[in-house]
């Protein structure tokens, strides 16, 4: 091969005297998909921000096509052909696809008139080039997350980007949508565009990456060619330990016969209809399906956060109908929502504030809150869930300063503090690193072994297969199958979730 299109050599960066990156190397060939792998906090984001011109490195060299360069800012990075697709989507929802693609560099005619038609035509071309079938005049707010992500990619390419960084692009996509993403990546490769692909999902990486670079705690660990390594090796590179300690555990005690929750013919069109299932004491009942299958909405209804139009819910044999979350919480249900930042946490407040938020009843004495008892409880759950932050005093740290995994633990802790008998977990491990993931898996198992019943909504198939006693599969709001533990295989679930058959 010729000179690499991008070389980052011995990149160092420190914040407040602490090294975030201590000598990272990365080289990217033309038309290569290069996976960047590392736990949360390993320094991936910092490296990407350096490449994107948001941070300046303390030392090290960046070469583009063999020429040493300095990247002075976001615009400069774009000019040098570097496009970044961030994990969180940064489009303006009210504007159209074309307006978003041309945002900040609109095509102007005379008298500062915006050439709307011209922009639409060009946008259409760009979209077709990558095989994205979305009209440029659609408003972004009406698109799915996956489609929005594709618009982000198109936007990056439209800057004549030669290098595109995708930061966990698949984290909120369904299996089907990930497939579409891969097709786009393949097209980009054909156009000799190089891609840095950040993801936690091993299978994806093995599917599309040419090479894989692993970093850990800000250090460069190594680069492997796809086909010359395996999952075990990569994980031990990532975590610095042998894989054995990290294998996903299986619950030891099986569910009891006692039915704690029964849902009969529950409907809330257009989200879901005619859903029935039973949840046993100590059971982990999974809900699989594609994104948008109506699983989250179903859980919201059970929790009283969304009205349902038809059907019945029985809690310990008695019919219940919760009109708000308060009633559900009092009845012993907890709900770890899908989006911890939007619906789980008060990000601007402290860990301890968030941990006690749903269980303040318990510390009420007269009109006062018993702060000491509250602090004890907060301390208990901080320890129990191993919540950590860079600051010494975790409890008074602002929640937004914690890593994703630790934020997720706060949300779980908040609900455990209410002492629920049923815990609903909606995508509890999305976007968190493998270490935190395993901690949460162990916790879920322990809780179920202790008699808590769990409804687990997850799009991560290996996760749902490892953890669940049984799995309900939803497709477009309808339950297409219930799989017993011995039937739990990815192919089975996918057949019910996406396939034409139904049970």
């Amino acid at each position: 091969m010729d000179t690499p299109i991008l070389e980052m050599i011995d990149i160092k960066k420190s914040f407040s005297g602490i090294y975030a990156l201590s000598g990272i190397n990365l080289s990217l060939e033309e038309g290569e998909v290069h996976a960047l792998l590392g736990e949360n906090g390993a320094g991936k984001s910092t490296l990407i921000k350096i490449l994107g011109g948001i941070y300046r490195p303390d030392s090290g060299t960046i070469k583009i096509k063999g020429e040493e360069v300095e990247i002075h800012g976001v615009r400069d990075a774009e000019m040098k052909g570097i496009g970044i697709v961030h994990q969180e989507i940064v489009l303006v929802p009210q504007l159209t696809v074309a307006q978003n693609i041309f945002l900040g560099r609109e095509l102007m005619g005379s008298f500062s008139r915006v050439k709307r038609k011209e922009m639409n035509i060009q946008a259409e071309e760009m979209l077709q080039n990558l095989g994205v079938s979305i009209s440029p005049t659609t408003s972004v707010s009406s698109l799915t997350i996956a489609q929005q992500q594709m618009i982000e990619i198109v936007k990056a390419v439209s800057f004549q980007a030669k290098i595109i960084v995708m930061d966990e692009p698949s984290s909120s996509l369904s299996v089907e949508e990930v497939e579409q993403l891969f097709q786009i990546i393949a097209r980009l490769k054909e156009k000799k565009i190089s891609i840095i692909y950040i993801s936690h999902r091993m299978e994806e990486i093995f599917k599309i990456a040419d090479r894989i670079t692993v970093i850990r705690d800000g250090c460069y660990i190594g680069t492997k060619k796809n086909g010359e390594t395996d999952v075990d090796e990569l994980i031990s590179m990532m975590v610095g330990r042998e894989l054995k300690e990290f294998s996903v555990p299986k619950k030891q005690i099986s569910k009891s016969d006692e039915i704690i929750l029964e849902v009969k013919n529950l409907s809330c069109r257009p989200y879901y209809s005619d859903i029935s299932f039973q949840l046993h004491k100590g059971e982990i009942l999974g809900f699989a399906g594609l994104v948008g299958a109506g699983r989250s909405e179903l859980m919201e209804s059970i929790f009283g956060a969304r009205h349902f139009t038809k059907g019945e819910v029985f809690l310990r044999g008695e019919q219940v109908h919760f009109f708000n979350p308060m009633q559900a919480i009092k009845a012993g249900i907890g709900f770890v929502t899908e989006d911890r930042k939007k619906t789980g946490l008060v990000l601007g407040n402290t860990v301890s504030f968030n941990l006690s938020l749903a269980s303040l009843d318990k510390y009420q004495k007269g009109i006062l809150l018993e702060k000491e008892r509250m602090e004890e409880s907060v301390q208990y759950y901080t320890d129990r869930l191993n919540i950590k932050s860079a600051a010494l005093d975790v409890k008074s740290t602002q929640a937004s300063n914690l890593s994703g995994g630790n934020q997720q633990k706060i949300v779980i802790g908040k609900w455990l503090a209410t002492m629920p008998s049923i815990l609903i977990l909606d995508e509890p491990t999305r976007g968190i690193d493998i270490h935190a993931k395993l901690e949460i898996y162990n916790l879920i198992n322990e809780l179920a072994e202790g008699g808590m019943s769990i409804l687990l909504v997850s799009s991560d198939l290996p996760e749902i297969i490892q953890l669940c006693d049984r799995v309900c599969v939803l497709k477009e709001g309808v339950m297409t199958g219930v799989l017993e533990s011995h039937e739990l295989e990815q192919e089975n679930i996918m057949r019910f979730a996406a396939g034409g058959e139904s049970a």
Binding site: A305, M326, T343, N349
Partner: protein, 327 residues
């Protein structure tokens, strides 16, 4: 045990309000250098009395803003309650106590209506409270025909002009009591935690089982109550009910909150900050008066000082971060 060491020895009330405290200190130094009338016990008491009305309103406003809302009705409620209470006594001949209860209930009603509309229809509080501001103003003018009404009733007058131990003006005493009560509510009770949670993340609060509607109605009602009380004390101090007072009071209250570090985005703020903010505003007016700056010029100077203080305060986070790095 590590975290014990980490706990700073500086009380929260100082470390959280360091920006506004510096501003207050500089202001005091400048004014006392400019005039020796400033640092006299008489003047200090007078400043405290001057800020008391604004502080009552700003206390309610702090809760409103932490909740993520705004209440523009407060100034008009001050005028309405003052005018009508005085009118009830002078024109209708109601017993003073009854008139006071009536006037205050009217303010409470306005707050309650604001709260119900905002929480039920999810309309922006800015618009609704602005509309209600017009209604309250209108009521004051319609009732009084735009005229101010003099009152000479001894008990009524003593509410705003009396002294405790012939030393502390009663309005200052009320202010201190209200600060204690509202701080207590915000810091020590579940209600307070809920206010912060709703302002910080409404959806997370809802899903945590927090009765958002109830809290919103309570807070708006409380704001109405405090404004009505402010109107009462003001009318008493002026020996009259005047429908034209109170305009712009909402802005002074909001300024006090913002100066004190309350975030307009909701979820953050403190009573101590607001009280300091009210003091800054009070000392600006007092100082400029003492120096002899005309009231028109005062507006300009006050505006500039408030803007500067807020900018300085917004840089606080940066200072903090730099301080950590230097360590």
């Amino acid at each position: 045990m590590r975290n014990r060491i980490e706990k700073s020895k500086v009380p929260h009330i100082i470390s959280d309000n360091i920006g506004i405290m510096v501003v207050l200190l500089i202001l005091c130094i400048i004014v006392s250098l400019a005039t020796d009338k400033f640092l006299t016990s008489g003047n200090i008491i007078s400043v405290l009395r001057q800020i008391s009305i604004n502080t009552y309103i700003a206390l309610g406003m702090t809760l409103i803003i932490i909740l993520g809302h705004i209440d523009l009705t407060v100034g008009a409620v001050v005028a309405m309650c003052g005018t009508l209470t005085v009118g009830f006594i002078v024109n209708q001949g109601l017993p003073v106590e009854l008139a006071i209860i009536g006037g205050v209930l009217l303010g409470v009603l306005f707050g309650f209506i604001n709260g119900v509309i905002v929480s039920t229809f999810k309309v922006p509080s800015f618009i609704i409270t602005m509309a209600m501001m017009n209604v309250a103003n209108g009521i004051a003018y319609v009732y009084s025909g735009g005229q101010s009404t003099r009152i000479t009733d001894g008990f009524f007058i003593s509410i705003g002009t009396g002294y405790l131990f012939s030393l502390i003006p009663l309005p200052v005493l009320y202010m201190i009591l209200l600060i204690i009560v509202i701080s207590f509510l915000l810091v020590k009770t579940r209600f307070g935690v809920y206010v912060y949670a709703i302002g910080g993340n409404r959806e997370a609060a809802r899903l945590s089982g927090i009765p958002i509607r109830k809290i919103e109605i309570i807070v708006f009602t409380l704001s109405g109550l405090l404004s009505a009380f402010a109107g009462l004390v003001l009318a008493s101090r002026m020996y009259s009910g005047q429908p034209s007072v109170g305009s712009g009071y909402e802005m002074d209250a909001i300024a006090a909150c913002v100066l004190g570090g309350t975030s307009m985005a909701g979820g953050k703020g403190s009573i101590s900050g607001t009280v300091l903010g009210a003091m800054v505003i009070g000392i600006i007016s007092n100082g400029l008066n003492l120096i002899g700056v005309s009231s028109y010029w005062q507006l300009i100077v006050k505006g500039i000082i408030i803007a500067t203080a807020v900018i300085l305060d917004s840089q606080k986070e940066k200072f903090k971060r730099n301080a950590i790095i230097r360590k």
